[in-house]
Amino acid sequence: MPTRPKRAHPAERTVLDNGLKVLVVPDRTVPLVGVAVVYNVGFRSEPEGRTGFAHLFEHMMFQGSAHVGKMEHGRLVESAGGRMNGHTLPDLTAYYEALPASALELALFLEADRMASLSVSEENLRNQVDVVKEEIRVNVLNRPYGGFPWILLPALAFTSYPNAHNGYGDFTHLEEATVGESEDFYATFYSPANAVLAVVGDCAADEVFALAERYFGSIRRRRVPKRGPWPEPRPSADLHRVIRDPLAPQPAFAVGYRTTDPVGDLDRYLIYDVLASLLAGGDSSRLRARLIYRDNNVTDVSCQLGTFGDDAFFVRDPTLLQVIVFHPGTATTGALLEAIDEEIGRLAEDGPDRQELARVVNTSSADLWRSLDSLMDRAHILASVETIHGRAELVEELASRLAAVKVADVAEAAADLLSQHRAVLELQPAGN
């Protein structure tokens, strides 16, 4: 079998006195840098009655700080020839930009200013509530399969508020959000000791450490907030819900299985990652080959770890392994679930063959390299893994750790899926 290439971009790190972790990964391939600040807070931490607050707050971080006016963050980054964005996940919020290497200091100035001195005005908050509502209309309310399954499946698979609620938020909750609540959220969760700064690309570690000290060093240290954990026992009975989607032309369903703790027992969690690829990674995977290409009764089937799409390594316990199916309705959901069980059963009985196992390790490893190719993505991926797992180096080790997964491990994980009470969320087009 082919060997898996190793690429050493060693991370160098320091911790400022105020607790901010700084991570630098130099790479001189192109004269650009990627910068990310990841805060250790996501929508699992938002208070009850304030669904969507963590994400709304992410928007407020672009609305100005003591030395940066409204819209100026974007203007300064784009004027420097850069780009920027942010995202909110269940367990973290990431802010990132990529710029020509000569503008590194500007990026650090901007990140430091909003970490030190965010200013939230009533007018800006009301404006961003409107913007977020439009974001939700575009991505959820005005399109078919909106929120399927990322909002809808956790709501069924989990029972506690942190794990089950809608991270995009209810309109009422968004509308009720106040400036005072923003200030509290900021004071609690946006402390330097609750953040990781990552800089990757055309830079030197010493230079970045000095700049980080210069811009972030004087930000007051604050207590690291208490956060979770939010464990939930596995369900004690099968969970099933049918929802109607008036905009969807075809039925779909998502199945949620529980995994092991992604952080506390990473090596076991990686077995579930391999299992997900074996089930529905490429076109040769068990479920794709069977349901799409042999039985011809589904339009698409995919399998992933995490609840928010591609966040397998940015998420804490509890989380899900999901199987997502879109189908024309020529087979019933029951029949399709039986076929899925059969395929999982075969893996539980015999395990994968060695070639098949080596194949998914190769594709996962290539996918991983691909995700690290863009400097902006590399910066927020490394900062996110540092935030969740405490070690950004993990990213480059994943390929070899995946390669250590054994046939018997996969069989055991497959058996675990079969033995669980799973959550099945069915989406039916209106009229059915």
Binding site: G81, E135, V138, Y145, S218, P249, G264, R316, A358, A366
Partner: protein
């Protein structure tokens, strides 16, 4: 609740792994609060290209970029007017191409590709098909062999074709239920009139009529080495990669004479009433305005692209400032430019709450009219110059970005000197040039407008602004 042992273990690991920390002497001095300088604007160095002509007339473009141990592969093939006008067969071909060869059935072929840590698929664009792949660098040769296997011996098993067309029909139903797809189709129809570019997504019924015989007939016409562009970018040695490609692609020969894939040029759209595409009970309206635009490589393209970015092509644009950050009407109001082989087009897009459809359109008209009549200011110009050069650098920084950029330039017939000339032209563009381009391309009188939305609510407000034609 017990503390999470996992998390504590993690924190401990992190501390143990930390390199000896470098700490500044306390207390920390106050942080600087003035903006750091961003450096002089200089044109980026263009990537070093190796160009080669391979047997059969294939144009090869190779760049070494060892950022990650991968190689991106693109094979770009032009489509002729007929194939664009009747898009169902090409659409099925792009799927069934991987449904089996003389050596592998579909699942075995997928397995052989995945064994290399690779992917390979085909994507149909408005006037081209692009076969696109990525592979762990050490397996480039094997991926090229599989690419050629597909090109020279795709067998189109009838049962597989039948299954593919059914899935394509199902996916089309899903696509057509997306309001942005409906809006894009409606705008294309208004923009391009009788040109092949106006052709809508093939309807399910047309897809279900495509059979294996049609694909066998179409295959040599589309997969014709004369006119093909092969791009390889990544962790490779350029001359060796050309050698590999030459060896692998030698088997790809012309089986019969194929006419060149010519297209008529695109004409400017005829202005007319706003077209309202009804979507009853829609909670948003999808506003789209479009017009023809400067083509890549034309002398006024750099200035026109600067005008477009100031209007709506970046976050700090006038449209975002107005529609999103001042009025909260839309999450991502934006403009963009599409370049086809036969011409380029401009689109202004905003998805807005149904209740503010009229006011949002007023603001968009205002911003278009303002930039077309009053032009831009020097501060905006400098920002747009830097943003353009930066965007260009980033578009060509990642492996897939550079590979796709090169494939698209090549298939549009743009001289690759563009990679050096464009950033220089952007830096040299003057306010007068940008003002002229804004007047030429962004004036609302030159644009056509379509709206997808709830006719019961939006017809009234839209009619207050001008003539509305309801599309049935």
């Amino acid at each position: 609740m017990a503390p999470n042992p996992a998390k504590r273990a993690t924190a401990k690991t992190a501390a143990a792994q930390r390199a000896p920390a470098k700490r500044a002497a306390p207390p920390a001095p106050a942080r600087p609060t003035t903006r750091p300088p961003i450096g002089r604007l200089v044109a980026p160095t263009a990537p070093r290209l190796l160009e080669a002509s391979l047997p059969g007339g294939i144009h090869a473009l190779v760049v070494r970029r060892p950022s990650v141990p991968l190689v991106e592969v693109r094979l770009a093939l032009p489509l002729a007017a007929d194939q664009i006008r009747k898009p169902a067969p090409v659409s099925i071909l792009s799927r069934s191409l991987f449904a089996g060869t003389d050596r592998h059935d579909r699942v075995a072929l997928a397995g052989a590709i995945e064994d290399l840590g690779a992917s390979l698929d085909a994507h149909v664009g408005e006037d081209r098909v692009i076969l696109s792949g990525a592979v762990l660098a050490e397996h480039l040769k094997e991926l090229l062999a599989l690419l050629v296997e597909v090109i020279t011996s795709a067998s189109y098993p009838p049962d597989e074709v039948k299954a593919d067309r059914n899935r394509a029909a199902d996916e089309t139903l899903i696509a057509l239920s997306q309001p942005d797809v409906v809006a894009a189709q409606a705008l294309r129809r208004r923009l391009f009139g009788t040109h092949p570019y106006a052709t809508p997504i093939p309807p399910p019924a047309a897809l279900r009529r495509v059979d294996a015989a049609a694909l066998h007939a179409l295959h040599p016409v589309v997969l014709n080495p004369a006119g093909a562009h092969l791009v390889l970018v990544g962790d490779l040695q350029p001359h060796r990669a050309v050698g590999l490609a030459e060896e692998a692609l030698a088997a790809w020969t012309v089986t019969h004479e194929v006419p060149p894939a010519d297209l008529p040029p695109v004409a400017a759209p005829r202005p007319g009433p706003l077209e309202l595409v009804p979507r009853p009970a829609s909670v948003q309206s999808n506003l789209r305005m479009g017009g023809s635009f400067a083509r890549l490589g034309e002398p006024d393209w750099p200035a026109a692209s600067l005008a477009e970015q100031i209007l709506g092509g970046m976050f700090s644009s006038r449209i975002v400032a107005n529609i999103r950050e001042r009025n909260g009407y839309s999450y991502s109001p934006r403009s963009f430019v599409r370049h086809g082989r036969a011409g380029s087009s401009f689109t202004m897009a905003a998805d807005v709450a149904t209740g503010v459809t009229g006011p949002a359109l007023v603001e968009i008209f205002y911003e278009l009219g303002r930039i077309a009549t009053l032009g831009i200011n020097e501060e905006e110009l400098e920002m747009a110059r830097r943003h353009s050069v930066g965007r260009f650098s980033f578009d060509t920084a990642s492996l897939p970005g550079l590979a796709t950029t090169l494939a698209n330039l090549a298939i549009r017939g743009v001289d690759l000197g563009y990679l050096t000339a464009y950033p220089k032209a952007v830096i040299a563009a003057t306010k007068q040039m940008v003002d002229e381009a804004a007047a030429r391309y962004l004036a609302p009188s030159r644009l056509v407008t379509v709206v997808v939305g709830d006719p019961e609510v939006v017809t009234g407000p839209l009619s207050a602004l001008g003539e509305v034609a309801l599309r049935s």
